[in-house]
């Protein structure tokens, strides 16, 4: 319809344009944090030994299969045969060893700590990698599905910021900073050739622009709509609206270490004062899920804890009286992100109902929020989407900005990680419940994976369980 449909029907079949919000500032996730780079590169350009599927199960990737030793400390991975990097080099076990040792030595991304547990890496032959851990871990293999597991060519790390050389189904044809990334399918890919050969990631600061572009046919998919109210406009046969889960828990965080929310009664009052259903409906148009804890439903240790704190303003008022904080003002630092700003308006209104006055202070995200709230812990209340997978233990550790006293859960966590799978699950459940019952933070809702696409696009995963946005499975109907 629009003037931009310069690509005819024929060409349409093997190309697709997808809108994203957070743009990669460069291509190097080893030294730059944030979700934007792995979202574009993992599973598309870089691959790990293993990956996680839509149900949260770990699946083989570069490793055909793997063995775990009796003491659960040594993993032996058997690599796929005939895997080539996009620069033509063959994948060997040396590359894996090089890549993983590099995590510990050269990476600057804070997530590199996920590899701290690795003791040694051996390469008995070209296609076998033996990785020994310092102690058994239930989380390590899962962590390997994230960016720390990415395998680089020994010769391919000179200019990571601008050139990505991986084994994945796509290579980057063009990276226009701040605007778009053009992916092109590789002929020499070891696995199945993707159905759509040319995929473009286009970055939109503004959700309305993205939705307009979809309406006028200039793009095909909006990967995560940041203005969910707009979804209503796509309720027709021409489009599909996919609302799945992510790993992002939208947390109304309270400073457990100092200020008025040091007192559990104050935090409990907040838990009772917030009508999470209303928050979800008004701030995010009802898209998303109420969770009640720091665990998304796709995690193996998920448990529905929405009933622990009911919406009960009267109770909240009583608790406030008990805590002696009636009419107190406190600092509510809000990152300037669409969801956070919307939430802050309804939350502060609900708190006002029970007699708490939140002084909203909008902080530029990431720079100022990271500096003041996150690093300097200069806040009473804040709201943020903690998007990393399985991050409960990180967020509720002692020195994290929330300041949760983790003495109760530290032991359980250690035991769970080194124990059997069942022990792991039950241990983690216990941790999640403890945190919720402590009213350490208010888990408002699970951030939705709200994808809008033309109706003839297939292969879009409903749930986002890893950072990666996998494009190899996309196709046109």
């Amino acid at each position: 319809s629009a003037g931009a449909s310069d690509s005819g029907e024929q060409a349409k079949k093997d190309s697709m344009t997808i809108a994203f919000t957070a743009e990669p500032v460069n291509l190097d996730f080893t030294s730059t944090s944030g979700i934007a780079i792995p979202e574009a590169l993992m599973e598309n350009v870089y691959e790990s030994l293993v990956r996680v599927d839509g149900e949260g199960e770990i699946q083989p990737s570069l490793a055909e299969d793997w063995d775990v030793s009796e003491d659960r400390k040594t993993y032996t991975f058997h690599l796929q045969k005939g895997v080539k990097f996009s620069n033509g080099a063959d994948l060997t076990s040396e590359d894996v060893k090089f890549s993983y040792e590099r995590v510990q030595d050269d990476w600057k991304n804070a997530l590199k700590s996920k590899m701290d547990i690795v003791d040694s890496i051996e390469t008995p032959d070209d296609l076998t990698v033996e990785i020994s851990l310092k102690k058994p871990s239930n989380t390590w293999l899962f962590n390997m599905t994230s960016l720390v597991g990415a395998v680089f060519d020994t010769e391919g790390t000179d200019d990571l910021a601008n050139e990505a050389i991986g084994t994945g189904p796509f290579s980057i044809e063009e990276f226009t900073r701040g605007q778009s990334i053009d992916f092109v399918a590789r002929d020499s890919y070891w696995g199945e050739t993707p159905a759509v050969k040319n995929v473009t990631f286009k970055y939109f600061q503004d959700a309305v622009s993205a939705s307009n572009a979809l309406k006028s046919g200039e793009i095909d998919v909006v990967s995560n709509l940041q203005a969910p109210e707009l979804a209503g406009e796509f309720k027709s046969d021409d489009y599909q609206i996919i609302s799945g889960t992510t790993n992002g828990e939208v947390v109304l965080s309270m400073n457990n270490a100092k200020g008025i929310f040091k007192d559990k009664k104050a935090r409990a009052a907040v838990m009772h004062a917030i009508d999470r259903k209303a928050v979800l409906d008004t701030a995010w148009a009802g898209y998303g899920e109420l969770i009640g804890s720091m665990v998304p439903p796709t995690d193996p240790y998920y448990e529905d804890l929405t009933g622990v704190w009911d919406y009960n303003p009267q109770k909240a008022k009583d608790l406030i009286k008990e805590a002696g904080i009636e009419g107190e003002e406190f600092a509510f630092t809000v990152p300037n992100l669409p969801y956070a700003k919307a939430i802050s308006e309804i939350v502060s209104a609900q708190l006002k109902e029970v007699g708490l006055k939140a002084n909203i202070e909008t902080q530029e995200f990431p720079a100022v929020w990271l500096d003041k709230t996150f690093t300097k812990h200069d806040f009473d209340m804040s709201v943020i989407n903690h998007a990393e997978p399985r991050d409960i233990l990180t967020v509720f550790s002692n020195d994290y900005y929330i300041g949760y006293d983790d003495s109760k859960i530290k032991k359980i966590a250690e035991k769970a990680d080194t124990g059997t799978e069942e022990e792991y699950i039950s241990g983690m459940k216990k941790i999640a419940r403890t945190i919720t019952e402590d009213a350490a933070a208010d888990f408002l809702f699970l951030f939705p994976n709200l994808v809008i696409a033309k109706s003839d696009v297939a292969g879009i995963p409903a749930n986002r369980v890893s950072d990666a946005f996998r494009i190899a499975d996309l196709s046109w109907n």
């Binding site: 209503g232 502060s348 909008t362």
Partner: protein, 300 residues
């Protein structure tokens, strides 16, 4: 932003003609004045009465069209739009007053001083320095300043007002300077010097009253510009922040409801337009009333 172009002396007859029109209250002024009074009235009334509280959310009654209960409808949180428009009038006026206040109080004296300095051999370079500094300031538009302020402090009405105000300083400095130059070059200032008046006395007795009209005109235009600028900054998230009601922010947030709830964009858009129109018309009217050509006669 605008500089009144200096003009050469007009004939006495035409100056006479203009003086005659000066006595009329022109229609631009009347219409502009009425529009502004409307905004002022909204703001004043909001202090004693609004249909609802500004933060009275009602998730059940969200996104309603106009109705007897909610004359202008409700927003995504079920807040009353009319209430927000009324509160927003306060912010709009405050932004205008503070921004223009900053610009007038700094820009005008700077312009006068630069012009006065330029009269002296020892001050010519100082005058030039002041005006060059002014040019540099012109290179920092409101938006840039607002970005910096938002980063240094936090985004909000205050930094936005200050940014808009600072960005408007050069305009006033220029107008004040060129007006002062004209006045200082005039025969009646020579006469005042011959009457033994000191330079500060001349600046107060002769310069100020004679450039006042230009400054007033400039102020009304700057007022309109700052209303738009605040709206633009709020649009970028650099202006007024939640939960303070502001028309710019309302307009920005209405975007995603344009097709479902156009009223959310209509009302703030309409009131911004009314405010801007009001100030512009008033400025036009004032411009006609105090025709700058009157000053130009001093050039001779």
């Amino acid at each position: 932003m605008s500089e009144n172009p200096s003009t050469t002396s007009a004939g006495e007859a035409s100056a006479d003609r203009r003086r005659r029109t000066k006595l009329r209250l022109n229609s631009s002024m009347i219409i502009g004045g009425v529009l502004i009074l409307l905004i002022v009235a909204l703001a004043l009334v909001s202090f004693i009465w609004t249909p609802y509280g500004p933060s009275a959310v009602d998730p059940v009654a969200r996104l309603q069209p106009s109705s007897p209960e909610h004359l202008f409808g409700t927003d995504r949180f079920g807040r009353d739009t009319l209430t927000w428009i009324m509160y927003g009038a306060r912010i709009t006026l405050m932004v205008g007053i503070v921004a223009v206040g900053i610009a007038v109080l700094i820009g005008t004296p700077v312009g006068i001083v630069a012009a006065v300095f330029a009269q002296y051999p020892w001050g010519a370079w100082l005058g030039a320095v002041i005006m060059r500094a002014n040019d540099i300031l012109l290179a920092f538009p409101a938006l840039l300043l607002a970005i910096v302020f938002a980063a240094v402090y936090q985004p909000g009405t205050g930094p936005a007002m200050v940014a808009v105000g600072i960005a408007a300083i050069p305009g006033f400095a220029r107008v004040a300077r060129s007006g002062t130059m004209q006045v200082l070059g005039s025969e009646y200032v020579r006469a005042a010097k011959a009457s033994n008046r000191s330079v500060p006395a001349i600046a107060i007795v002769h310069v100020l009253p004679n450039i006042a009209s230009m400054v007033i005109v400039q102020a009304s235009v700057a007022f309109a510009i700052s209303v738009l600028a605040e709206a633009g900054l709020s649009f970028l998230g650099l202006g007024t922040q939640a939960p303070v009601p502001s028309w710019g922010r309302m307009l920005q947030e209405s975007q995603q409801f344009l097709s479902t709830q156009p009223g959310l964009a209509l009302w703030p858009g309409l009131f911004i337009a009314i405010a801007v129109l009001g100030f512009n018309l008033l400025g036009d009217g004032l411009r006609d009333r105090f025709d700058p050509k009157m000053e130009a006669r001093g050039n001779g």
